[in-house]
């Protein structure tokens, strides 16, 4: 018997079926919807500027795109690490079955990566890439020349067409992002045997919490990167982003509330077990972290910031705390869904316990490492494709040289 199963066995409460003793969807499966959610959220921030013409958030447009890409590349890693046979991961795409929602993921993912994100980033950066390809030497120059794909046409018309194309891709991308993440909620929502999961609201709740976490992430990265670059924070952009964070938060909270209210009101079989789950087993992670610290407090902070009573420096602090709490709150939400749903026995008469190992492939360290990876990727992307609106110092001189040569 595995050590974990033995430990979990001793903490079983009430009656559970033998295959429910060990919680098999581990912390990795908590991070999987969390990371895909961040992708969807970050992309929606990017589309604010493109589709909804929210000009104020322009400074975050490219940053949000690169963030989405970095996190998208890391998104399947928790799943692959969770597989006993990672080398078989692609078989889900080689022989996909229509009755499997999971098999759909591979294609939704590929579509989103290849057709939406890469194309949008590629066409949006084209002008700059062509410029860099002409000026940079060495490995970097080679990379840029590769990225131009041999087309150096940055005439006014070409750029205008690019612009239009990016607009179209964003419009396609928006439902794709919603689909990518909504589908994760769909997988949980369709487990009809589990009353804590089974709900058609699940995909929508997942989507809104994804937006919350994604906006918070972009906000944090934007604030941190401006600080690191020693620039002045664009307060209008920050305020606008925080405003959107607040609106999605309120929607998210009301959806979450609706879900719980519905569960309690209809009093279906298993409601007693769910109430015990919430009030006892998940008290810390659900009531304290997700609802109070992760939702009520940040909403309060954001509303405070909106009142206009506070100076920019104070608002900034509010935003940092609100965004950090939002990220933690949404992670707690994923935890409560994934782990909570497995603690609840299908007998509705008992609970098992999740034991989080530190080491090992399903351990905390793996999950943290997978979560750090997108930040490393983002760092590299930002170095290769600087998303800043004004040219960074290290290349402004070269830039002037290009401008001197005349564009196109």
């Amino acid at each position: 018997m595995s050590e974990l199963l033995w430990q979990a066995l001793q903490q079983v409460q009430g009656y559970v079926y033998p295959n429910e003793i060990e919680v098999n969807w581990s912390i990795l499966i908590v991070f999987y919807p969390y990371i895909t959610g961040l992708v969807a959220g970050a992309f929606i921030v990017a589309s604010l500027e493109r589709v909804f013409k929210v000009e104020a958030v322009k400074p975050t447009y490219r940053l949000a795109l690169l963030t989405a890409l970095a996190f998208l590349l890391a998104a399947p890693l928790p799943l692959v690490a969770h597989l006993g046979h990672p080398e078989r991961a692609l078989e889900i795409m080689f022989t996909p079955h229509l009755s499997s929602a999971m098999a759909g993921f591979g294609f939704v993912y590929a579509w989103y990566l290849l057709i939406v994100l890469l194309l949008e980033i590629g066409y949006d950066y084209r002008k700059d890439v062509v410029k860099w390809a002409r000026t940079k030497r060495g490995l970097k120059g080679f990379l840029y020349r590769l990225l131009t794909m041999g087309d150096y046409d940055i005439s006014k018309e070409a750029l205008k067409k690019d612009e239009k194309l990016v607009g179209i891709i964003t419009v396609i991308g928006l439902p794709s992002a919603a689909f990518l993440h909504g589908y994760v909620g769909f997988i949980f929502g369709s487990v009809k045997a589990n009353p804590w999961w089974s709900s058609p609201l699940m995909p929508i709740i997942f989507l809104f919490s994804a937006m919350v976490s994604g906006i918070a992430l972009v906000l944090l990265i934007y604030m941190a990167s401006t600080k690191l670059r020693g620039k002045k924070l664009d307060m209008k952009c920050t305020d606008t982003l925080a405003g959107y964070l607040l609106y999605t938060y309120v929607l998210d909270l009301s959806l979450e509330f609706m879900e719980i209210a519905h569960l309690v009101y209809v009093q279906e079989e298993g409601i007693d077990a769910i109430l015990t789950l919430i009030n006892d087993r998940l008290f810390l992670s659900f009531i304290v972290i997700q609802i109070f610290l992760g939702t009520i407090v940040p909403i309060f902070l954001l509303v405070m910031a909106k009142t206009g009573l506070f100076r920019a420096t104070i608002r900034k602090i509010f935003y940092i705390f609100a965004a950090l709490l939002a990220m933690i709150g949404v992670l707690a939400m994923r935890w409560n869904v994934v782990i909570g749903g497995q603690m609840l026995s299908k007998s509705f008469r008992g609970f098992s316990t999740y034991i989080l190992p530190i080491f090992g492939i399903e351990g905390l360290l793996t999950a943290v490492a997978i979560f750090i990876l997108p930040f490393v990727l983002l760092f590299i992307f930002v170095k290769v494709l600087p998303p800043w609106e004004e040219p960074p110092i290290w290349e402004s001189t070269e830039h002037q040289a290009v401008e001197g040569n005349g564009e196109g």
């Binding site: 066995l9 003793i21 692609l90 022989t95 290849l114 194309l119 794909m149 087309d151 067409k161």
Partner: protein
């Protein structure tokens, strides 16, 4: 058509072709013949040799054990659950010797205390029960209890 579009489309077409080529190597040819699995596996499994003979086949030659076993507490446990697959032995009793495992650990596989076993199932503490003698010193494995 602009050059860039053509190039991008070409890259994607190449990716798709690579995917299809890799797929054609990895997916077995008989996949989907009967269902969502490799068709050849059916005939492969059919051709596996039979390993078990069944408890009844022992009755001719090992009457003592068999009789005791049918009336004893272990009558729900097949001979071959303890002795291993023995088709080869039934076909040729004089052939290779049958190994018998009479260690304490062996009985402990089923009888050591474990909270996940049904409550009424006879369980003992492998460390202390029987003072370290092999279980068969006191229990007849083919008729383990006396009532």
């Amino acid at each position: 058509m602009r050059k860039i579009h053509v190039r991008v489309a070409m890259v994607y077409i190449v990716i798709a072709i690579i995917f299809l080529i890799v797929r054609s190597f990895i997916v077995p040819p008989s996949f989907g013949e009967y269902g969502w699995y490799r068709g050849d596996s059916v005939s492969e499994i059919m051709n596996l040799s039979v390993k078990h003979a069944g408890s009844y086949s022992c009755s001719n030659c090992h009457q003592t054990e068999y009789k005791a076993w049918t009336t004893g507490k272990h009558s729900t446990v097949n001979c071959e659950s303890c002795h291993g697959p023995l088709k080869y032995h039934v076909d040729d009793p004089g052939g290779s010797k049958v190994e018998v495992n009479a260690t304490r650990e062996f009985c402990g596989l089923c009888h050591n205390e474990n909270p996940s076993r049904p409550e009424g199932f006879p369980q003992i503490n492998l460390e202390s029960h029987g003072n370290g003698f092999t279980c068969v010193t006191c229990h007849n494995p083919h008729y383990p209890w006396f009532d």
